[in-house]
Amino acid sequence: MSEQSCYHCGLPVTADDHYSVTILGQPRAMCCPGCQSVAQTIVAIGMESYYEHRQQCPPGSSPAADLVPDFLDGLNNWDDPGLQESFVHQLPEGAREITLLISGITCAACVWLLEKHLNDQAGIHRCHVNMSSNLAVVSWNPEAISLSGIIKAIAHVGYKAEPYTPVQQEQSIKRENKQALTRIGVAGLGAMQVMTYAVSLYMGAFEGIDPAHETFLRWVSALVTTPVFFYSGMPFLKGAVRSLRNRHLSMDVPVAIALTFAYFSSVWATLTNGPEVYFDSVCMFVFFLLVGRYLEMRARHRSQNTSIRLSHSQMQTARKLDDQNHPTLVPADKLVPGDRVLVKAGEVIPGDGKILQGDSSVNESMLTGEQLPISKHQGDLVTGGTLNVEQPITLEISTLPKESTLSTLKRLLQRAEADKPATFVLADRIASHFVAAVLVTSVCVYSYWWFHSPQDAFWIVLSVLVVTCPCALSLATPTAITAATARLSQMGFLATRSHTIEGLRQVTDVVFDKTGTLTLGEFQLQETVAATTEDLYALLALAAALESVSEHPIARAFHPYTKNPDVKNLRIIANQGVEGTLEQATPTGKVERLLRIGKPEFAAPAGVSPQQPDKPGQWVMLADQNQVLGWFRIEDQLRADADNLVSHLQQSGKRCHILSGDSSGHAEVVAKKLGIESVISNATPEHKLSFIRSLQESGAKVLMLGDGLNDAPVLAGADVSIAVAGASDLAQVAADGILLSQSLQPLHNILNLVEKTYRIIRQNLSWAILYNLIALPLAAAGFIPPWASALGMSASSLLVVLNALRLNK
């Protein structure tokens, strides 16, 4: 018979125990009369349901088993192409890319180490590790190294990696959380215990303690401190060993040195009846440092929530309809293009697709940050992950889940998270030098005190080692940037590169690429000019009839007007205009007129060189085969917020420019309305680029705003580029940031947030420097007891993290 465990408390029940209580209708084994009594009482007072609801059921649970998941087992499975399909992304030229979730990352040094080690492996093209999200994006050549080889390489330097899926990340957050709490628990209980002994030891020192009792208390302290040192303190010891092995100094090094010295010298003192023991300091160090690190970790997890939220919208089921329109529940990631799905009101849309049936409104806040639902009708495209608000709709899925908007977004976001600006690296290097300086200082401090007051030398050095806080230095920038990125994505702005935020801060000039960035793309007819004596309304009716077949934005300007029903044989000539015929009764009999509307070059009758009206603007020509009939001036509507944005930008001292490829004079009209003086129209991509270059030569930092789809070299030429992109075009976007809301208003807030981010980074760095400058001399002078130094250093790095989190509000 396998070993049973007590139904009440979960401890093992041995064969000779015969205690049992009937709970929830069944006899349950108990380990002792105590549990039996408790269980009987719980049943008797009518709280039997406690057993149903308790979080965790003791029977059969073996907590030790899941502490050591044997993740290297079955590792070769990861090389199976079928399995890889769901999380490996194919890059051009046969390379592959994966996002790995790494456990065990505690500081910037880990990131440095991982990147260095992986980038040295043959076959790995590129590796970026993000400290805040614990994600690594690795691209590799499958012929030179296998995925399992990569995971093994990561294990080799002491970390655990697994392919990233949102569920896994959440689990690993839970696991990390639980382990951290247990460590804190052990350290906290140990610290309390040892403190009581320490107090009586101190008291004893004053009142003259019986040496036998002193020895006894020391032994008990040693016993209690041992698990605190080896179990709770393990993260610091491991971190230090790792960083020493890789010759890169991290904050763990001085802490581990202090812990090790304090612990072993105390054990030695206990064995040999030496003068001082520091068990209380060891426990306090570990406890405070762990608490500080735990809170820091919580903060990091909090800023991860955004990307988890994004991913979460994909982890769900869909009601797939069969031929008889019967819905069956299938996982959303198993949908293929062509599947029809039913989405009820209040449900998340499972994938990108077109509405076949139903009118509803959709909340796209997941993409755009905009909470107001947008109405969607039959034939409209909807995006997976957004929320269907009003009515049930039937969709036809149009993309594979892996290629969907949401997946693309996630990939872009992950890339940005894993990318790391140069400032991080710099801060980390400074921190590393700083640690070296601390180590040297503590040697000097120790020798000084050794000559002046040998009995104080040891604890003073402990304080010096622990009080300094290189973490605050190396955390100052990354935490702020991560928090800012999370906040930005809530505002509907996706920073796809790590340097985006830094770039945005320095912007002096904003260049609007194409007028379309500032306008809605909804043209309206502003003016009609007749070239002949024909009636204006008759002309307009002809134009409306011709344009009725086209969905071109310009053509739509004519849709509201009454059509002349006699225009026939309509034909769209792409990029030029529309032509059609009109039979007219004239005194000489029936005449067929060939009508054309569109660009002047296209519409003008042969041999006639059209003379466009003087007024600037975009003119459309209507003509028949003999003569020009009239002109229509159409104008794009400005985005409602363009005005605001431009004036905000100008007020904050940024210069605005419009670059436009068309020659119609439209750009000038828009610029005039918005008060922008610098306009270049009829510009080729080379022109645009040289314009940006000339701005840059005069010291400007250029932000380029465009649709992001074309003009890649121009976008790349700018210091920062932002695409105002609809979700559908995401995959082709080549910009540093994407404004998903398709509205310009957030840009102003974004720039403000970036400003605030850098203010916080400055505050953080100043604090870190100030703290260390004050704490180090004080500790060296012996004013800071060891326990206070641990408190100070934890509080200092916590302050940095909390300050950064203000951005998340």
Partner: protein, 227 residues
């Protein structure tokens, strides 16, 4: 000075032993917390306050028992020769070692003692009904007081210490410290129960606590015999 060390040791015994009890008493503590009537205010703080009240009641029960036993011990002490080793303390040391065996699960001889206690408990248990649901502070306090009489090998071995303490006041004080030692584990049960009980149930933790207690027992006996 000597007695204050006893107090610290009692605290330590309570602390060590209670790690073992998290599974057992954690259950009742959680069950009782479900009995708290929903009221306004921060649920976590209220939980904590009620947990403290239960424990306060429980510890006063221990102190009462300690007073009674301490008094009885003092009476007994008068009958014994007052030079040489204190047999009552040696007895306490033996109990401590037995407790170590009990907690490690090697030899559950204390179960016999618990069985005796269970008979007493049967008479007391019905009283609990009066205080359920727990909607007032005094009910929580009373319930905790009753809970203090649950059959528990840990409490019994601590009581043998009061036997040798030399008086009602000292016996009560000793049990008070013992109870305070159990406080950290019991209070934290409410807050992060499952994490702690996993940890407490781990065989390593139990072994560690058991060895500590046996060490205490041996030390107690040795210090008496060396007199």
């Amino acid at each position: 000075m000597d007695f204050s060390h006893d107090l610290i040791a009692a605290f330590a015994v309570g602390f060590m032993g209670s790690l073992h009890c998290v599974g057992m008493c954690g259950g009742i503590s959680s069950a009782l917390s479900t009995a708290i009537q929903p009221m306004q205010g921060n649920p976590m703080w209220r939980q904590l306050v009620y947990q403290l009240l239960y424990s306060l009641g429980r510890i006063s029960a221990y102190a009462c028992a300690g007073a009674v036993i301490g008094l009885a011990g003092a009476g007994l002490h008068a009958q014994l020769p007052d030079h040489g080793p204190s047999y009552l303390r040696i007895f306490a040391g033996i109990m401590m070692i037995l407790l170590g065996f009990y907690i490690s699960g090697w030899w559950k001889v204390l179960n016999q003692l618990e069985r005796l206690g269970a008979k007493v408990w049967k008479r007391i248990a019905p009283l609990t009904r009066r205080f359920i649901p727990v909607d007032r502070a005094h009910k929580a306090l009373a319930l905790g007081f009753i809970w203090g009489w649950l059959p528990c090998g840990l409490v019994y071995s601590a009581l043998t210490w009061s036997l040798g303490s030399g008086g009602a006041g000292r016996g009560a004080l000793l049990m008070l410290y013992f109870g305070l030692g159990t406080l950290p584990a019991m209070i934290s049960v409410g807050t992060f129960s499952h994490i702690l009980s996993d940890f407490a149930r781990a065989s390593g933790t139990r072994l560690f606590a058991a060895l500590m207690l046996m060490g205490f027992g041996i030390w107690t006996i040795m210090s008496q015999l060396s007199h």
